[in-house]
């Protein structure tokens, strides 16, 4: 059962409330998205750790229901 962008955003926000999320539907099939996630909680974490936080937020859907999510994460620029 493919996912829609709002579902993905909702799940990420549940675990990473301050996340600013931009989701791009790459193919319109509900299965291939790109997501850009910016959050203060990423500060000081490696990319692997940042991505793992997002995957955990998706509660196991990554690699299953959600076949492809091209992910880019970053902490907000130092203001």
């Amino acid at each position: 059962m493919p996912m829609n962008p709002a579902e993905i955003e909702g799940l990420i926000k549940q675990s990473i409330p301050d996340a600013q999320i931009t989701i791009e539907d790459l193919r319109g099939d509900g299965d291939h998205y790109a997501a850009y996630v910016v959050s203060g909680s990423f500060k000081g974490k490696t990319r692997v750790q940042q991505h793992q936080m997002v995957y955990q937020a998706l509660q196991g859907r990554m690699g299953g229901e959600l076949h492809a999510l091209a992910l880019q994460t970053s902490a907000p620029p130092e203001s």
């Binding site: 991505h51 690699g63 299953g64 091209a70 880019q72």
Partner: protein
């Protein structure tokens, strides 16, 4: 699952210990069976890096085991000197920013700077 007596983990540990650069992927370096795996193979090939490609499609236990080993839900997975570096997204980003070449050089892995 206890990580010590998990035969799949033992195999993963020995592969990443015996080979400087390892990619757990779908398909083989010559015939990748998935675009994401192909992208990682291309980046490494472009940089002239010698690596071992391990086809997880041949071994469902390994396919799941490698995801549990790193708590990383997708394939491909790149290891350099026994350390998990990332999946396709991270490798592509690191390739573009030059961080991948920097990491390889720091770890003493032969590579030719991207043209």
């Amino acid at each position: 699952m206890n990580t010590i007596d998990n035969p799949v983990f033992e195999r993963i540990k020995s592969e990443i210990a015996d080979n400087d650069v390892v990619v757990f992927m779908k398909g083989t370096p010559v015939f990748p069976q998935c675009g994401f795996s192909a992208a990682v193979v291309q980046a490494l090939t472009h940089m002239g890096v010698k690596f071992k490609g391990i086809d997880v499609l041949q071994d469902p236990g390994l396919r799941q085991g490698v995801k549990d080993f790193t708590n990383w839900p997708t394939i491909p997975q790149l290891y350099v000197k026994g350390e998990f570096v990332g999946g396709c997204d991270i490798i592509r980003e690191m390739f573009q920013t030059g961080e991948l070449q920097q990491l390889l050089t720091e770890k003493g892995v032969e590579n030719t700077p991207a043209a």
